[in-house]
Protein backbone atom coordinates (compact mmCIF):
# COMPACT_ATOMS: atom_id res chain seq x y z
CA UNK A 1 0.00 0.00 0.00
CA UNK A 2 1.30 3.46 -0.88
CA UNK A 3 0.63 6.69 1.02
CA UNK A 4 -1.73 7.77 -1.78
CA UNK A 5 -3.80 4.63 -1.22
CA UNK A 6 -3.68 5.00 2.53
CA UNK A 7 -4.83 8.62 2.86
CA UNK A 8 -8.46 8.16 1.77
CA UNK A 9 -8.76 5.07 3.95
CA UNK A 10 -7.66 6.92 7.09
CA UNK A 11 -10.96 8.75 7.30
CA UNK A 12 -12.89 5.47 7.13
CA UNK A 13 -10.63 4.01 9.81
CA UNK A 14 -11.33 6.94 12.11
CA UNK A 15 -15.04 6.52 11.44
CA UNK A 16 -14.86 2.79 12.20
CA UNK A 17 -16.08 2.02 8.70
CA UNK A 18 -13.12 0.22 7.21
CA UNK A 19 -13.54 -3.42 6.20
CA UNK A 20 -11.49 -5.76 8.36
CA UNK A 21 -9.17 -6.82 5.55
CA UNK A 22 -8.57 -3.22 4.41
CA UNK A 23 -7.92 -2.25 8.01
CA UNK A 24 -5.25 -4.94 8.36
CA UNK A 25 -3.49 -3.72 5.20
CA UNK A 26 -3.71 -0.12 6.38
CA UNK A 27 -2.31 -0.96 9.81
CA UNK A 28 0.63 -2.71 8.15
CA UNK A 29 1.31 0.45 6.20
CA UNK A 30 0.93 2.68 9.26
CA UNK A 31 3.42 0.60 11.19
CA UNK A 32 6.08 1.58 8.69
CA UNK A 33 5.02 5.11 7.68
CA UNK A 34 5.31 7.90 10.20
CA UNK A 35 3.84 10.49 7.79
CA UNK A 36 0.59 8.60 7.47
CA UNK A 37 0.60 7.92 11.16
CA UNK A 38 0.80 11.67 11.82
CA UNK A 39 -1.96 12.16 9.30
CA UNK A 40 -4.12 9.68 11.14
CA UNK A 41 -3.48 11.43 14.45
CA UNK A 42 -4.52 14.73 12.83
CA UNK A 43 -7.70 13.24 11.44
CA UNK A 44 -8.59 11.66 14.75
CA UNK A 45 -8.02 14.89 16.60
CA UNK A 46 -10.07 16.91 14.15
CA UNK A 47 -12.90 14.40 14.10
CA UNK A 48 -12.99 14.42 17.89
CA UNK A 49 -13.12 18.22 17.95
CA UNK A 50 -15.86 18.20 15.38
CA UNK A 51 -17.84 15.65 17.30
CA UNK A 52 -17.38 17.62 20.54
CA UNK A 53 -18.45 20.81 18.80
CA UNK A 54 -21.63 19.26 17.43
CA UNK A 55 -22.34 17.39 20.64
CA UNK A 56 -21.94 20.52 22.69
CA UNK A 57 -24.38 22.46 20.51
CA UNK A 58 -26.97 19.78 19.96
CA UNK A 59 -27.00 18.60 23.56
CA UNK A 60 -28.41 21.94 24.54
CA UNK A 61 -31.19 21.84 21.96
CA UNK A 62 -34.56 21.27 23.59
CA UNK A 63 -37.94 21.07 21.86
CA UNK A 64 -40.44 23.80 22.80
CA UNK A 65 -42.50 22.91 25.88
CA UNK A 66 -45.49 20.70 25.12
CA UNK A 67 -44.33 19.90 21.57
CA UNK A 68 -44.14 16.13 22.13
CA UNK A 69 -47.60 16.01 23.66
CA UNK A 70 -49.01 18.06 20.82
CA UNK A 71 -47.60 15.69 18.22
CA UNK A 72 -48.99 12.69 20.11
CA UNK A 73 -52.46 14.26 20.18
CA UNK A 74 -52.28 15.17 16.49
CA UNK A 75 -51.28 11.62 15.59
CA UNK A 76 -54.13 10.25 17.62
CA UNK A 77 -56.65 12.61 16.02
CA UNK A 78 -55.39 11.89 12.50
CA UNK A 79 -55.46 8.18 13.18
CA UNK A 80 -59.07 8.34 14.41
CA UNK A 81 -60.10 10.17 11.29
CA UNK A 82 -58.40 7.58 9.13
CA UNK A 83 -59.61 4.48 10.92
CA UNK A 84 -63.08 5.74 11.80
CA UNK A 85 -65.48 2.79 11.72
CA UNK A 86 -68.20 3.81 9.32
CA UNK A 87 -71.65 4.21 10.77
CA UNK A 88 -73.16 1.92 8.18
CA UNK A 89 -70.94 -0.91 9.34
CA UNK A 90 -72.18 -0.48 12.89
CA UNK A 91 -75.74 -0.24 11.56
CA UNK A 92 -75.34 -3.42 9.60
CA UNK A 93 -74.12 -5.28 12.64
CA UNK A 94 -77.11 -4.09 14.66
CA UNK A 95 -79.57 -4.96 11.90
CA UNK A 96 -77.91 -8.31 11.46
CA UNK A 97 -78.07 -9.06 15.15
CA UNK A 98 -81.73 -8.08 15.46
CA UNK A 99 -82.79 -10.10 12.46
CA UNK A 100 -80.69 -12.99 13.63
CA UNK A 101 -82.19 -13.08 17.08
CA UNK A 102 -85.66 -12.94 15.63
CA UNK A 103 -84.81 -15.80 13.31
CA UNK A 104 -83.48 -17.91 16.13
CA UNK A 105 -86.49 -17.04 18.21
CA UNK A 106 -88.91 -18.39 15.66
CA UNK A 107 -86.63 -21.32 14.86
CA UNK A 108 -87.31 -24.80 16.09
CA UNK A 109 -84.37 -24.98 18.46
CA UNK A 110 -81.75 -22.79 20.02
CA UNK A 111 -78.49 -22.80 18.10
CA UNK A 112 -75.51 -24.61 19.51
CA UNK A 113 -72.60 -22.46 20.56
CA UNK A 114 -70.65 -23.49 17.48
CA UNK A 115 -73.56 -22.70 15.14
CA UNK A 116 -73.92 -19.26 16.73
CA UNK A 117 -70.20 -18.59 16.41
CA UNK A 118 -70.05 -19.66 12.76
CA UNK A 119 -73.16 -17.63 11.94
CA UNK A 120 -71.62 -14.61 13.59
CA UNK A 121 -68.39 -15.00 11.61
CA UNK A 122 -70.20 -15.47 8.33
CA UNK A 123 -72.24 -12.37 8.97
CA UNK A 124 -69.14 -10.33 9.76
CA UNK A 125 -67.48 -11.62 6.64
CA UNK A 126 -70.44 -10.63 4.50
CA UNK A 127 -70.47 -7.16 6.04
CA UNK A 128 -66.77 -6.80 5.25
CA UNK A 129 -67.22 -8.01 1.68
CA UNK A 130 -70.10 -5.62 1.13
CA UNK A 131 -68.10 -2.76 2.53
CA UNK A 132 -65.18 -3.62 0.27
CA UNK A 133 -67.50 -3.50 -2.75
CA UNK A 134 -68.91 -0.18 -1.60
CA UNK A 135 -65.47 1.32 -1.02
CA UNK A 136 -64.28 0.11 -4.42
CA UNK A 137 -67.28 1.76 -6.09
CA UNK A 138 -66.61 5.00 -4.24
CA UNK A 139 -62.95 5.00 -5.19
CA UNK A 140 -63.97 4.39 -8.81
CA UNK A 141 -66.33 7.38 -8.67
CA UNK A 142 -63.64 9.63 -7.17
CA UNK A 143 -61.15 8.60 -9.82
CA UNK A 144 -63.60 9.18 -12.64
CA UNK A 145 -64.34 12.64 -11.26
CA UNK A 146 -60.62 13.32 -10.98
CA UNK A 147 -59.95 12.19 -14.55
CA UNK A 148 -62.82 14.23 -15.93
CA UNK A 149 -61.67 17.37 -14.15
CA UNK A 150 -58.81 17.94 -16.51
CA UNK A 151 -57.17 21.19 -15.47
CA UNK A 152 -55.68 21.90 -18.84
CA UNK A 153 -56.75 21.54 -22.44
CA UNK A 154 -53.23 20.30 -23.12
CA UNK A 155 -53.21 16.53 -22.47
CA UNK A 156 -49.49 16.69 -21.87
CA UNK A 157 -49.63 19.35 -19.18
CA UNK A 158 -47.84 18.05 -16.08
CA UNK A 159 -50.89 18.18 -13.76
CA UNK A 160 -53.01 16.27 -16.29
CA UNK A 161 -50.34 13.60 -16.50
CA UNK A 162 -49.99 13.56 -12.73
CA UNK A 163 -53.72 12.95 -12.36
CA UNK A 164 -53.68 10.18 -14.94
CA UNK A 165 -50.65 8.66 -13.33
CA UNK A 166 -52.13 8.89 -9.83
CA UNK A 167 -55.43 7.41 -10.99
CA UNK A 168 -53.64 4.56 -12.77
CA UNK A 169 -51.68 3.70 -9.63
CA UNK A 170 -54.78 3.75 -7.42
CA UNK A 171 -56.75 1.78 -10.00
CA UNK A 172 -54.13 -0.92 -10.12
CA UNK A 173 -54.36 -1.24 -6.33
CA UNK A 174 -58.12 -1.38 -5.98
CA UNK A 175 -58.06 -4.37 -8.24
CA UNK A 176 -59.05 -7.72 -6.78
CA UNK A 177 -56.74 -10.48 -7.88
CA UNK A 178 -58.20 -11.66 -11.14
CA UNK A 179 -58.58 -15.25 -12.26
CA UNK A 180 -59.15 -14.55 -15.91
CA UNK A 181 -57.61 -15.74 -19.12
CA UNK A 182 -55.00 -13.57 -20.77
CA UNK A 183 -57.22 -12.51 -23.70
CA UNK A 184 -59.91 -11.51 -21.16
CA UNK A 185 -57.37 -9.50 -19.20
CA UNK A 186 -56.12 -7.80 -22.36
CA UNK A 187 -59.68 -6.87 -23.27
CA UNK A 188 -60.37 -5.62 -19.72
CA UNK A 189 -57.48 -3.14 -19.94
CA UNK A 190 -59.79 -0.98 -22.03
CA UNK A 191 -62.85 -1.47 -19.82
CA UNK A 192 -64.82 1.62 -18.84
CA UNK A 193 -65.16 0.29 -15.32
CA UNK A 194 -62.11 1.47 -13.34
CA UNK A 195 -62.17 -1.52 -11.01
CA UNK A 196 -62.20 -4.01 -13.90
CA UNK A 197 -59.58 -2.00 -15.76
CA UNK A 198 -57.40 -1.73 -12.66
CA UNK A 199 -57.74 -5.44 -11.91
CA UNK A 200 -56.65 -6.38 -15.40
CA UNK A 201 -53.72 -3.98 -15.41
CA UNK A 202 -52.57 -5.11 -12.02
CA UNK A 203 -52.83 -8.80 -13.00
CA UNK A 204 -50.87 -8.20 -16.19
CA UNK A 205 -48.17 -6.30 -14.31
CA UNK A 206 -47.72 -9.30 -12.03
CA UNK A 207 -47.42 -11.72 -14.91
CA UNK A 208 -44.44 -14.05 -14.90
CA UNK A 209 -41.89 -13.15 -17.63
CA UNK A 210 -42.08 -16.74 -18.93
CA UNK A 211 -45.60 -15.95 -20.17
CA UNK A 212 -44.59 -13.18 -22.52
CA UNK A 213 -45.32 -15.32 -25.61
CA UNK A 214 -48.79 -16.19 -24.28
CA UNK A 215 -49.40 -12.49 -23.82
CA UNK A 216 -48.31 -11.74 -27.39
CA UNK A 217 -50.80 -14.35 -28.63
CA UNK A 218 -53.49 -12.84 -26.40
CA UNK A 219 -52.93 -9.46 -28.07
CA UNK A 220 -53.70 -11.09 -31.41
CA UNK A 221 -56.91 -12.61 -30.06
CA UNK A 222 -58.30 -9.69 -28.21
CA UNK A 223 -58.41 -5.89 -28.31
CA UNK A 224 -57.54 -3.80 -25.30
CA UNK A 225 -55.43 -0.79 -24.42
CA UNK A 226 -52.75 -1.62 -26.98
CA UNK A 227 -50.15 0.85 -25.74
CA UNK A 228 -50.45 -0.40 -22.19
CA UNK A 229 -50.29 -4.09 -23.11
CA UNK A 230 -47.33 -3.44 -25.41
CA UNK A 231 -45.60 -1.75 -22.53
CA UNK A 232 -46.22 -4.82 -20.36
CA UNK A 233 -44.77 -7.04 -23.09
CA UNK A 234 -41.64 -4.91 -23.15
CA UNK A 235 -41.37 -4.92 -19.39
CA UNK A 236 -41.68 -8.70 -19.33
CA UNK A 237 -38.99 -8.94 -21.99
CA UNK A 238 -36.81 -6.63 -19.94
CA UNK A 239 -37.39 -8.69 -16.84
CA UNK A 240 -36.47 -11.84 -18.72
CA UNK A 241 -33.08 -10.22 -19.41
CA UNK A 242 -32.03 -8.72 -16.09
CA UNK A 243 -29.01 -6.88 -17.50
CA UNK A 244 -31.21 -4.91 -19.81
CA UNK A 245 -33.80 -4.27 -17.17
CA UNK A 246 -35.20 -0.82 -17.64
CA UNK A 247 -37.26 1.29 -15.33
CA UNK A 248 -39.49 2.23 -18.20
CA UNK A 249 -39.36 2.06 -21.93
CA UNK A 250 -41.38 3.20 -24.88
CA UNK A 251 -41.20 2.05 -28.50
CA UNK A 252 -42.55 3.85 -31.53
CA UNK A 253 -42.37 3.48 -35.24
CA UNK A 254 -41.04 6.70 -36.69
CA UNK A 255 -40.79 7.03 -40.49
CA UNK A 256 -40.83 3.25 -40.81
CA UNK A 257 -38.08 2.65 -38.21
CA UNK A 258 -38.57 1.37 -34.70
CA UNK A 259 -37.28 3.75 -32.06
CA UNK A 260 -37.07 2.60 -28.48
CA UNK A 261 -36.30 4.79 -25.50
CA UNK A 262 -35.71 3.27 -22.10
CA UNK A 263 -34.45 4.40 -18.78
CA UNK A 264 -32.51 2.13 -16.44
CA UNK A 265 -33.10 2.11 -12.73
CA UNK A 266 -29.97 4.17 -12.14
CA UNK A 267 -31.29 6.95 -14.41
CA UNK A 268 -29.23 6.08 -17.51
CA UNK A 269 -31.15 6.44 -20.72
CA UNK A 270 -30.82 4.24 -23.79
CA UNK A 271 -32.09 5.16 -27.23
CA UNK A 272 -32.19 2.29 -29.70
CA UNK A 273 -32.47 3.27 -33.36
CA UNK A 274 -31.83 1.10 -36.42
CA UNK A 275 -28.23 -0.08 -36.33
CA UNK A 276 -27.28 1.96 -33.30
CA UNK A 277 -27.70 2.16 -29.55
CA UNK A 278 -26.99 5.40 -27.76
CA UNK A 279 -26.59 5.68 -24.03
CA UNK A 280 -26.64 8.84 -21.96
CA UNK A 281 -26.55 9.75 -18.29
CA UNK A 282 -30.10 11.02 -18.38
CA UNK A 283 -32.72 12.45 -20.68
CA UNK A 284 -31.29 15.96 -20.58
CA UNK A 285 -27.87 14.55 -21.43
CA UNK A 286 -29.28 12.56 -24.34
CA UNK A 287 -31.10 15.53 -25.83
CA UNK A 288 -28.03 17.71 -25.46
CA UNK A 289 -25.31 15.38 -26.69
CA UNK A 290 -27.26 13.63 -29.44
CA UNK A 291 -29.41 16.47 -30.64
CA UNK A 292 -29.08 15.47 -34.29
CA UNK A 293 -30.18 11.85 -33.79
CA UNK A 294 -33.01 12.97 -31.54
CA UNK A 295 -34.20 15.37 -34.22
CA UNK A 296 -33.94 12.70 -36.91
CA UNK A 297 -36.11 10.26 -34.94
CA UNK A 298 -38.48 12.85 -33.51
CA UNK A 299 -37.29 12.42 -29.94
CA UNK A 300 -37.98 15.84 -28.52
CA UNK A 301 -38.09 17.64 -25.24
CA UNK A 302 -39.83 20.87 -24.52
CA UNK A 303 -41.39 22.59 -21.57
CA UNK A 304 -40.89 19.69 -19.27
CA UNK A 305 -41.81 16.64 -21.28
CA UNK A 306 -40.23 14.31 -23.75
CA UNK A 307 -42.02 12.98 -26.78
CA UNK A 308 -41.29 10.44 -29.45
CA UNK A 309 -43.09 11.36 -32.60
CA UNK A 310 -45.61 13.28 -30.54
CA UNK A 311 -46.25 10.49 -28.00
CA UNK A 312 -45.38 11.51 -24.46
CA UNK A 313 -42.58 9.41 -23.03
CA UNK A 314 -41.32 11.41 -20.14
CA UNK A 315 -42.22 14.25 -17.91
CA UNK A 316 -39.88 16.69 -16.30
CA UNK A 317 -41.33 17.49 -12.91
CA UNK A 318 -38.16 17.84 -10.97
CA UNK A 319 -35.82 19.81 -13.10
CA UNK A 320 -34.45 16.68 -14.69
CA UNK A 321 -36.09 14.90 -17.52
CA UNK A 322 -37.30 11.75 -15.96
CA UNK A 323 -39.44 9.05 -17.44
CA UNK A 324 -42.29 9.23 -15.02
CA UNK A 325 -45.02 8.63 -17.52
CA UNK A 326 -46.47 5.14 -17.29
CA UNK A 327 -43.83 3.94 -14.89
CA UNK A 328 -46.27 3.23 -12.13
CA UNK A 329 -44.16 5.60 -10.08
CA UNK A 330 -46.27 8.27 -8.58
CA UNK A 331 -45.66 10.14 -5.40
CA UNK A 332 -47.12 13.17 -3.75
CA UNK A 333 -43.95 14.96 -4.70
CA UNK A 334 -44.56 14.35 -8.42
CA UNK A 335 -48.09 15.61 -8.05
CA UNK A 336 -47.10 18.81 -6.28
CA UNK A 337 -44.17 19.53 -8.52
CA UNK A 338 -46.56 19.22 -11.45
CA UNK A 339 -48.98 21.65 -9.85
CA UNK A 340 -46.17 24.03 -8.99
CA UNK A 341 -44.96 24.00 -12.62
CA UNK A 342 -48.49 24.55 -13.89
CA UNK A 343 -49.18 27.36 -11.45
CA UNK A 344 -45.84 29.03 -12.22
CA UNK A 345 -46.97 29.45 -15.81
CA UNK A 346 -50.07 31.29 -14.63
CA UNK A 347 -48.90 33.30 -11.62
CA UNK A 348 -45.69 35.28 -12.08
CA UNK A 349 -44.86 35.78 -8.40
CA UNK A 350 -43.10 32.67 -6.98
CA UNK A 351 -44.36 33.47 -3.48
CA UNK A 352 -47.91 33.48 -4.76
CA UNK A 353 -47.26 30.11 -6.40
CA UNK A 354 -46.25 28.67 -3.04
CA UNK A 355 -49.30 30.19 -1.37
CA UNK A 356 -51.52 28.49 -3.96
CA UNK A 357 -49.69 25.19 -3.56
CA UNK A 358 -50.17 25.34 0.18
CA UNK A 359 -53.85 26.16 -0.20
CA UNK A 360 -54.53 23.23 -2.48
CA UNK A 361 -52.45 20.92 -0.31
CA UNK A 362 -54.55 21.92 2.68
CA UNK A 363 -57.73 21.34 0.72
CA UNK A 364 -56.57 17.91 -0.41
CA UNK A 365 -55.49 16.97 3.08
CA UNK A 366 -58.85 17.98 4.51
CA UNK A 367 -60.52 15.74 1.95
CA UNK A 368 -58.17 12.86 2.67
CA UNK A 369 -58.63 13.14 6.42
CA UNK A 370 -62.41 13.40 6.25
CA UNK A 371 -64.03 10.49 8.04
CA UNK A 372 -65.69 7.90 5.90
CA UNK A 373 -69.24 8.51 4.81
CA UNK A 374 -71.92 7.24 7.14
CA UNK A 375 -74.76 7.31 4.66
CA UNK A 376 -76.28 4.13 3.35
CA UNK A 377 -76.67 0.79 5.02
CA UNK A 378 -75.11 -2.51 4.40
CA UNK A 379 -77.76 -5.18 4.41
CA UNK A 380 -76.75 -8.71 5.12
CA UNK A 381 -79.10 -11.58 4.58
CA UNK A 382 -78.94 -13.05 8.05
CA UNK A 383 -81.75 -15.51 7.45
CA UNK A 384 -79.82 -17.06 4.62
CA UNK A 385 -76.81 -17.42 6.88
CA UNK A 386 -78.91 -19.06 9.59
CA UNK A 387 -80.31 -21.51 7.13
CA UNK A 388 -76.87 -22.28 5.80
CA UNK A 389 -75.47 -22.85 9.27
CA UNK A 390 -78.33 -25.10 10.37
CA UNK A 391 -77.68 -27.32 7.37
CA UNK A 392 -74.04 -27.87 8.31
CA UNK A 393 -72.68 -30.94 10.07
CA UNK A 394 -70.44 -30.48 13.08
CA UNK A 395 -67.35 -31.07 10.97
CA UNK A 396 -68.50 -28.61 8.32
CA UNK A 397 -69.10 -26.04 11.04
CA UNK A 398 -65.58 -26.52 12.39
CA UNK A 399 -64.09 -26.22 8.91
CA UNK A 400 -66.14 -23.14 8.10
CA UNK A 401 -65.13 -21.49 11.35
CA UNK A 402 -61.42 -21.92 10.55
CA UNK A 403 -61.80 -20.98 6.89
CA UNK A 404 -63.77 -17.83 7.63
CA UNK A 405 -61.28 -16.85 10.29
CA UNK A 406 -58.54 -16.93 7.64
CA UNK A 407 -60.72 -15.08 5.14
CA UNK A 408 -61.39 -12.37 7.71
CA UNK A 409 -57.69 -11.70 8.13
CA UNK A 410 -57.37 -11.10 4.39
CA UNK A 411 -60.53 -9.01 4.31
CA UNK A 412 -59.41 -6.90 7.27
CA UNK A 413 -56.13 -6.13 5.55
CA UNK A 414 -57.94 -5.39 2.31
CA UNK A 415 -60.39 -3.05 4.04
CA UNK A 416 -57.61 -1.11 5.65
CA UNK A 417 -55.83 -0.87 2.32
CA UNK A 418 -58.98 0.32 0.57
CA UNK A 419 -59.70 2.96 3.21
CA UNK A 420 -56.24 4.27 2.61
CA UNK A 421 -56.69 4.19 -1.16
CA UNK A 422 -59.99 5.96 -0.80
CA UNK A 423 -58.29 8.77 1.08
CA UNK A 424 -55.80 9.02 -1.77
CA UNK A 425 -58.53 8.93 -4.42
CA UNK A 426 -60.34 11.70 -2.60
CA UNK A 427 -57.14 13.69 -2.38
CA UNK A 428 -56.59 13.23 -6.11
CA UNK A 429 -60.13 14.32 -6.87
CA UNK A 430 -59.70 17.41 -4.69
CA UNK A 431 -56.42 18.09 -6.50
CA UNK A 432 -58.05 17.87 -9.93
CA UNK A 433 -61.14 19.84 -8.92
CA UNK A 434 -58.97 22.47 -7.24
CA UNK A 435 -57.31 23.16 -10.57
CA UNK A 436 -60.60 23.39 -12.40
CA UNK A 437 -61.60 26.13 -9.95
CA UNK A 438 -58.32 27.88 -10.69
CA UNK A 439 -59.19 27.87 -14.36
Amino acid sequence: MTCDDARPALEALVDGELAREDERVLRDHLASCSACERHLADRRAFSLSLRSALEREFQSVEPPPGARERVTELLLAASRRRLGVPGRLAAALVIGLAVGLAAWAVGLSRPTRLQAEVADRLRNRDVHQEEIRELTREIGRDLEEALESSPSADPLAPPTLAIRQGAAVIESQIAEPAEKTLPQLVSDTASRNPAVRGAARSALKRLDPSRVDDLRRAIDESRGDTAFVQQIVEELEDRAQPVERGKVSISKTVNGSTVSLSQMRDGRVRLVIPGRTIEARGMADLLKRHAEVCRQYSVAGRDGFVTIDGTPAAVDFRGQLDLVFRTGTWTDEVQWDAYRAWMASRVPDPRQVEVRVKELQDRCRRQMDRPLETTGEIRVDVERIMKEVRAMTHQQLEETRIRVEQEMKTLDARLEELRDLRAHARGLRAYAEGMVHEK
Partner: protein, 199 residues
Protein backbone atom coordinates in the same frame (compact mmCIF):
# COMPACT_ATOMS: atom_id res chain seq x y z
CA UNK B 1 0.83 2.35 19.25
CA UNK B 2 -2.85 1.72 19.76
CA UNK B 3 -4.70 3.19 16.84
CA UNK B 4 -8.07 1.62 17.46
CA UNK B 5 -10.79 4.23 17.21
CA UNK B 6 -14.31 3.44 18.21
CA UNK B 7 -17.03 4.25 15.68
CA UNK B 8 -19.07 7.26 16.79
CA UNK B 9 -22.26 5.32 16.76
CA UNK B 10 -20.86 3.06 19.46
CA UNK B 11 -19.89 5.91 21.74
CA UNK B 12 -21.88 7.05 24.69
CA UNK B 13 -24.28 9.43 23.01
CA UNK B 14 -26.64 11.52 25.12
CA UNK B 15 -29.63 10.10 23.32
CA UNK B 16 -28.77 6.54 24.15
CA UNK B 17 -30.72 6.52 27.38
CA UNK B 18 -32.15 3.18 28.42
CA UNK B 19 -35.70 2.47 27.36
CA UNK B 20 -38.10 1.86 30.18
CA UNK B 21 -39.18 -1.70 30.63
CA UNK B 22 -42.62 -1.15 29.13
CA UNK B 23 -41.27 0.06 25.81
CA UNK B 24 -39.63 -3.14 24.74
CA UNK B 25 -41.94 -3.97 21.90
CA UNK B 26 -40.27 -4.42 18.56
CA UNK B 27 -40.42 -1.76 15.87
CA UNK B 28 -42.85 -3.74 13.75
CA UNK B 29 -45.10 -4.27 16.78
CA UNK B 30 -44.95 -0.58 17.49
CA UNK B 31 -45.86 0.26 13.88
CA UNK B 32 -48.74 -2.23 13.96
CA UNK B 33 -50.03 -0.70 17.19
CA UNK B 34 -49.78 2.80 15.70
CA UNK B 35 -51.71 1.68 12.65
CA UNK B 36 -54.37 0.34 14.96
CA UNK B 37 -54.54 3.82 16.50
CA UNK B 38 -53.42 2.95 20.04
CA UNK B 39 -52.69 5.98 22.18
CA UNK B 40 -49.93 4.17 24.09
CA UNK B 41 -48.24 3.34 20.79
CA UNK B 42 -48.21 6.97 19.67
CA UNK B 43 -46.85 8.01 23.05
CA UNK B 44 -44.12 5.41 22.70
CA UNK B 45 -43.31 6.42 19.14
CA UNK B 46 -43.01 10.08 20.08
CA UNK B 47 -41.15 9.23 23.29
CA UNK B 48 -38.61 7.13 21.44
CA UNK B 49 -37.94 9.30 18.43
CA UNK B 50 -39.14 12.86 18.94
CA UNK B 51 -35.92 14.23 20.42
CA UNK B 52 -33.66 12.66 17.79
CA UNK B 53 -35.79 13.90 14.93
CA UNK B 54 -36.14 17.31 16.55
CA UNK B 55 -32.40 17.71 16.95
CA UNK B 56 -31.81 16.83 13.33
CA UNK B 57 -34.63 19.11 12.15
CA UNK B 58 -33.10 21.86 14.25
CA UNK B 59 -29.78 21.31 12.50
CA UNK B 60 -31.40 21.31 9.09
CA UNK B 61 -34.03 24.01 9.25
CA UNK B 62 -33.09 26.12 12.23
CA UNK B 63 -34.82 26.64 15.56
CA UNK B 64 -38.03 28.36 14.61
CA UNK B 65 -39.12 25.80 12.02
CA UNK B 66 -37.85 22.62 13.70
CA UNK B 67 -41.01 21.84 15.70
CA UNK B 68 -43.28 22.31 12.66
CA UNK B 69 -41.02 20.16 10.56
CA UNK B 70 -41.03 17.37 13.14
CA UNK B 71 -44.81 17.57 13.42
CA UNK B 72 -45.17 17.21 9.65
CA UNK B 73 -42.68 14.34 9.72
CA UNK B 74 -44.66 12.33 12.27
CA UNK B 75 -47.96 13.00 10.48
CA UNK B 76 -46.45 11.96 7.15
CA UNK B 77 -45.06 8.85 8.83
CA UNK B 78 -48.55 7.95 10.06
CA UNK B 79 -49.93 8.36 6.54
CA UNK B 80 -47.34 6.06 5.04
CA UNK B 81 -47.00 3.54 7.86
CA UNK B 82 -48.46 0.83 5.70
CA UNK B 83 -45.36 1.19 3.54
CA UNK B 84 -43.01 0.52 6.44
CA UNK B 85 -41.70 -2.95 5.71
CA UNK B 86 -39.13 -3.15 8.46
CA UNK B 87 -36.33 -3.27 5.89
CA UNK B 88 -34.65 -0.36 7.60
CA UNK B 89 -34.78 0.74 11.19
CA UNK B 90 -37.72 2.86 12.21
CA UNK B 91 -35.38 5.74 13.10
CA UNK B 92 -33.74 5.64 9.65
CA UNK B 93 -37.15 5.52 8.02
CA UNK B 94 -38.30 8.54 10.05
CA UNK B 95 -35.15 10.42 9.10
CA UNK B 96 -35.87 9.72 5.42
CA UNK B 97 -39.35 11.19 5.89
CA UNK B 98 -37.90 14.18 7.70
CA UNK B 99 -35.58 14.74 4.76
CA UNK B 100 -38.47 14.64 2.34
CA UNK B 101 -40.46 17.07 4.47
CA UNK B 102 -37.42 19.30 4.66
CA UNK B 103 -37.13 19.41 0.87
CA UNK B 104 -40.78 20.46 0.69
CA UNK B 105 -40.10 23.05 3.39
CA UNK B 106 -37.12 24.42 1.46
CA UNK B 107 -39.11 24.76 -1.70
CA UNK B 108 -41.88 26.51 0.15
CA UNK B 109 -39.62 28.93 1.92
CA UNK B 110 -36.94 29.44 -0.73
CA UNK B 111 -34.55 30.96 1.69
CA UNK B 112 -31.37 30.22 3.53
CA UNK B 113 -31.59 28.05 6.63
CA UNK B 114 -31.67 29.97 9.84
CA UNK B 115 -28.81 29.90 12.31
CA UNK B 116 -28.53 26.49 13.89
CA UNK B 117 -28.97 27.73 17.43
CA UNK B 118 -31.41 30.44 18.26
CA UNK B 119 -34.22 31.38 20.56
CA UNK B 120 -35.34 27.88 21.47
CA UNK B 121 -31.85 26.47 21.87
CA UNK B 122 -30.58 26.64 25.41
CA UNK B 123 -26.85 27.19 25.31
CA UNK B 124 -25.00 26.11 28.42
CA UNK B 125 -22.71 28.75 29.95
CA UNK B 126 -19.13 27.47 30.02
CA UNK B 127 -16.92 27.68 33.11
CA UNK B 128 -14.01 30.18 32.75
CA UNK B 129 -11.32 27.54 32.30
CA UNK B 130 -13.43 25.83 29.66
CA UNK B 131 -13.85 29.00 27.69
CA UNK B 132 -10.69 28.79 25.62
CA UNK B 133 -11.40 25.26 24.50
CA UNK B 134 -15.09 25.98 23.97
CA UNK B 135 -14.31 28.99 21.80
CA UNK B 136 -12.44 26.68 19.46
CA UNK B 137 -15.36 24.25 19.37
CA UNK B 138 -17.77 27.07 18.87
CA UNK B 139 -15.74 28.25 15.89
CA UNK B 140 -15.86 24.82 14.30
CA UNK B 141 -19.57 24.65 14.86
CA UNK B 142 -20.09 28.10 13.36
CA UNK B 143 -18.38 26.86 10.21
CA UNK B 144 -20.68 23.82 9.95
CA UNK B 145 -23.50 26.23 9.19
CA UNK B 146 -21.60 27.52 6.18
CA UNK B 147 -21.28 24.12 4.54
CA UNK B 148 -23.40 23.38 1.47
CA UNK B 149 -26.66 21.63 2.29
CA UNK B 150 -25.67 18.13 1.15
CA UNK B 151 -22.39 18.15 3.06
CA UNK B 152 -23.96 19.54 6.22
CA UNK B 153 -26.75 16.99 6.07
CA UNK B 154 -24.33 14.07 5.70
CA UNK B 155 -22.17 15.40 8.51
CA UNK B 156 -25.15 15.77 10.85
CA UNK B 157 -26.43 12.28 10.07
CA UNK B 158 -23.04 10.84 10.90
CA UNK B 159 -21.99 12.87 13.92
CA UNK B 160 -25.31 13.89 15.44
CA UNK B 161 -27.44 10.88 14.55
CA UNK B 162 -24.62 8.38 14.78
CA UNK B 163 -25.75 6.60 11.61
CA UNK B 164 -23.35 4.27 9.81
CA UNK B 165 -22.25 4.98 6.24
CA UNK B 166 -24.67 2.35 4.91
CA UNK B 167 -27.59 3.81 6.83
CA UNK B 168 -26.80 7.32 5.63
CA UNK B 169 -26.62 6.02 2.07
CA UNK B 170 -30.08 4.50 2.49
CA UNK B 171 -31.50 7.72 3.93
CA UNK B 172 -29.96 9.90 1.24
CA UNK B 173 -30.57 7.41 -1.55
CA UNK B 174 -26.97 7.54 -2.74
CA UNK B 175 -24.06 5.08 -2.91
CA UNK B 176 -21.88 4.53 0.17
CA UNK B 177 -18.95 5.99 -1.77
CA UNK B 178 -20.83 9.28 -2.02
CA UNK B 179 -21.36 9.33 1.73
CA UNK B 180 -17.68 8.71 2.25
CA UNK B 181 -16.63 11.45 -0.16
CA UNK B 182 -19.13 13.94 1.24
CA UNK B 183 -17.90 13.37 4.77
CA UNK B 184 -14.34 13.76 3.59
CA UNK B 185 -15.20 16.93 1.70
CA UNK B 186 -17.14 18.37 4.65
CA UNK B 187 -14.27 17.80 7.05
CA UNK B 188 -11.69 19.11 4.62
CA UNK B 189 -13.66 22.29 4.15
CA UNK B 190 -14.14 22.74 7.87
CA UNK B 191 -10.49 22.14 8.50
CA UNK B 192 -9.53 24.72 5.88
CA UNK B 193 -12.06 27.22 7.21
CA UNK B 194 -10.67 26.81 10.70
CA UNK B 195 -7.05 27.03 9.50
CA UNK B 196 -7.63 30.16 7.43
CA UNK B 197 -9.33 31.77 10.39
CA UNK B 198 -6.45 30.92 12.67
CA UNK B 199 -3.95 32.24 10.12
Amino acid sequence: MDIFVEPWSALDWPDARPMDSQSLRSESELVAACRAGERAAFEELVGRYYDRIFRLAHGMAGPSSAADLVQETFLAALRSMRNFRGESQLSTWLISILRHQYSIFLRQRKRQPEPLVGVHGRVTVPSPDQEGKDDGLRRIFERVKDLPEELRETLLLFHVEGLRYAEIARVLGCPIGTVRSRLFEARERLRKMCESRQA
